[in-house]
Symmetry: D2
């Protein structure tokens, strides 16, 4: 079965990773690519190593009303740029929105695929979770679902590679200024907070009061780690065991005894979670690692697409991480 697929936002990092995954997908056939800065060039001009079967595909200027015959569209547009445009895509086209505009939108399903796969199957409009929320929620879900931690007063200290800041010209993200530099930003005000709080509350059955989220830019291209401090009296082993049970049948989440490192997930759709707890202090530390462009963006999007297209969930996502 061949599914006719399009990508809009091909010039960005999320779009580029979607291209790589779609090119290697057994059921997806890329027939449409659109992008702002690269419109008019061929895929091979932008991606010199793209498979030769796709090399000549011309990148078009994005127009939701002039799409070719498509079954599925991946949208990887800057936040704010997709809400109006995606509304004009024909209903018959399934959409996975990697961007941030539909995570709390009417008519869209929040695609936290490792946690709620059954709620995604059968839908046709999926909002991919943000990269920080997906690492946080994947680590917390087993603890919240099992009542091992309280949903309130959670502190999320998050660290992401610089591709998470998106492509574009700000010299703050230039090599010379970002290299050998570690930068906290957006304290007490990050855009991902509501998504995180909403979902923690949904998982934990009570409001995520007092949630704290502090992102940091780390001098690496890919990779995302959250170190989460929560209150609960479970032991390390109880947390690990809860996670092992919770994810027993899920193909992409690995529960490890060692603290996970970002490189473990690089280039893959895997998420790693681990825990260290001190019941005497009523403390649980949860850790989550993803590739911000994989499970944090394009990999997760392909997983969601597999679910809504009735394909095996792991189709096109079986590649092991790149090491070293």
């Amino acid at each position: 079965m061949s599914i006719r697929v399009g990508i809009v936002g091909i010039s960005g990092f999320g779009g580029g990773e979607a291209l790589r995954l779609i090119a290697g997908h057994p059921s997806f056939d890329l027939v449409y690519a659109a992008g702002e800065s690269s419109a008019g060039s061929r895929l091979v001009d932008r991606f010199p190593g793209v498979p030769q079967s796709l090399a000549g595909l011309e990148i078009e200027r994005w127009d939701p009303e002039a799409l070719p015959d498509l079954d599925l569209l991946f949208a990887s547009l800057p936040t704010g740029a997709s809400a109006e445009a995606l509304a004009r895509v024909p209903e018959s086209v399934k959409i996975v929105d990697i961007g941030g505009d539909h995570r709390d939108a009417e008519g869209w399903t929040y695609g936290l695929a490792d946690v709620w796969p059954e709620q995604i199957r059968g839908e046709s409009r999926i909002a991919n979770p943000g990269c920080f929320p997906v690492a946080t929620l994947t680590a917390l879900a087993p603890l919240l679902a099992g009542g091992l931690i309280a949903p309130s007063n959670i502190v999320v200290d998050a660290k992401t590679g610089i591709s998470g800041a998106g492509r574009g010209g700000d010299s703050r993200f230039g090599y010379a200024e970002s290299n050998e530099n570690l930068q906290p930003y957006g304290l007490l005000e990050h855009v991902h907070m509501p998504e995180m709080a909403r979902t923690i509350a949904r998982l934990g059955g009570a409001p995520a009061e007092g949630l704290v989220f502090t992102p940091h830019l780390v001098p690496m291209t890919r990779g995302l780690l959250v170190t989460i401090y929560a209150r609960g009296s479970a032991s390390t082993e109880q947390c690990l065991e809860a996670a092992r049970r919770y994810y027993a049948e899920r193909p992409f989440v690995r529960v490890t005894e060692r603290p996970p490192q970002t490189k473990w997930a690089s280039g893959s759709n895997l998420a790693f979670v681990s825990y260290a707890a001190d019941p005497e202090r009523n403390l649980v530390i949860a850790m989550g690692v993803v590739d911000n462009l994989g499970k944090g963006a394009a990999g997760h999007a392909v997983q969601n697409a597999n679910l809504i297209c009735g394909l095996p969930e792991t189709a096109g996502l079986e590649g092991a991480p790149v090491w070293p």
Copy 2:
């Protein structure tokens, strides 16, 4: 068809990349892994993201006389460590030696797969080319074969990522000392020189007199670029056209007009070649880019294995490069 495969040298970078590629190969079934520093542990202990079907495979201490039933063995051992040991592997086991001990050895075929695939098919003992030679020879082959440059007085200025120095504990390759550092080494004496000279002579029909080779360590994990200065009166376009013809039917070599960048090949088995010539100065600059662990080691080894196993040459090697 399932081919029973083993890897020896799994702890190193070449062995790790072989594992990743074999895990994703449609016809290879990994049944044996051996390594010095990791013997006794399971694959998942070393490679936390390895596919779950391989996670429990125990890493054994390498003993060429105590192999399980194997069809194919990838050897990724330090130079000097494989000659004697591989001689004790049963004849029925095909071998691709990623290490450097058999590149000029009796009974072994030099596996420069993009150039001489027909000489590899049907063989059972393949010596994989070194990472520097493969980039150099892939760039030069069309020019030498077409008589566009002389085989003498070629200058190869080579730059490799630090994984090319191998895994191991030398603090010179430690992060703090290698980062933000660019290091030339092995001037006028590099171990890859004879392999390069021998093959240039074979391709060019005359001795590679006056060959100069200068390697440099670049602060990046993967990637290899050679910038080659040769004498010849061809134009840039003539060089490009010669390469396009030479590699027209070859799946892994891309001829580009732009100077290639190492990231174009990252994680893939691709080689990129390009040329800039100035006939007035009798000068041809040839450039070659590979991932030193891909086409420069494990990717090339899988390509050679495909050839000697009668499989499609691209089996398991179709993954597009990782970007960014």
Copy 3:
């Protein structure tokens, strides 16, 4: 006035930075250098850019009973290696121990120079604080001293460049494995905890109960950031103002409104502190940035040496940070 200075542990990163600072110090005259791995070579063999006046100084094997006539010794030895040996150094030689063996030792003064300079002047045995504690304590001191936060239940999420792991051969700290990797380690058990807890209690006037400390290795050579979550009802402006007053006369601590970045301190002895508070949530986030080899090690040691030698505190430490 010329002060005769020695360094033991010259081969390591802390020792190397001490050498750089001492070479540029107006009153210090380096007359002795000792190191394990480099004994027998000259300084210029190890440090090709060392000033020519020091180039020929021979590195000796460390013997505390065979020192030349010295006024001051900087010791930068691995933890555990200095306690016994430094006891054998003549009393007349002032010592600043950059290593970790004397931070709670009888007869030694804990040299948190930006906080307690007066307690350091006049002493002759100074234990330099650890790199993580110094960033943490410098950020917290004004809040603890002013009663703006409680000393209990503080969470310190710390991130350091890889030079913090010391020089040496572990392949975990090799370039290829550390680059593009972010690694949490030592959860709930880090060696710096007692030093931190002890000093927080001293500053805050009550035990540092429930202190949590999580270090992470960041792929950069130098730089250290702590992001600290504490309980208190002060506003951001109150915290900033408390710190401005606390450090008004101190030359090396900068209080900034923007969250500090590690590159701001690179190569210098500066510490940057900033705060973001949410009184409604009873939350104070404190941040501290240092160069782990500067204020976190050798720079701080020179500052302590200036204090005990009766020199201007900033002597030899006025260099602005290196940017970019």
Copy 4:
């Protein structure tokens, strides 16, 4: 003696390094800073670690006809932006132009300070050499002056850190795209060629025919290495000895037997040169290392300023390189 100094182009990397060096200079007093993107802010807003005595200096919009009373101006403007403007600076103000507009201009002296210091003293308009030429010419000068190599058919394979591409917004120089990437560029057409050819001819007494120059961008912030292939029959030892003699009285050039690494010069005004020759092949390999922002830009500019101001040549430039 206090010399009143200004910097124009303070926002860029060269301007920032000039600021750092001037701030630590014993005779320079910074009284004027101008910059395009930072006009209106104070120095401390741009450079959080700037010495407190300079923190409040306001960055002005550059206007050559509205300068304060200055003795000396450092200009670090993009190529093309300084020719017209600097002509309007009063004659009484000495100028060192770090930019590229005056290297072959009437009324300006080419400031290759380590080679021709005597020609610089007493002048008042100095054109700082480009970063690639300075490394190349410093390595070649002793060989050309001594007739050990021919000035023709020289091949310069050059590698620079990414700060060499300047500050600014091109996403090609963004972290995510530059990291783990090695990029050749400007083949057979680089802007530095005429400067290099002109000076090689001047040093060698004959035209630099057939000069080849290939720059590469290396994923590091600072550092520059040239690997030069020339024709000559001298031995390695003869080349080293020629360089030792040539630079015997020069404070900033170090002749080493080992191939120099870029980190050796980091943050300093040093240049390292070394040689490897094979008389049988009529081959001389010359290597030169500088910090592209130090000797390749701002350090060299301060050295030139010292010379034209009658100061000790090393004033403010004695800082040892930063390691690691």
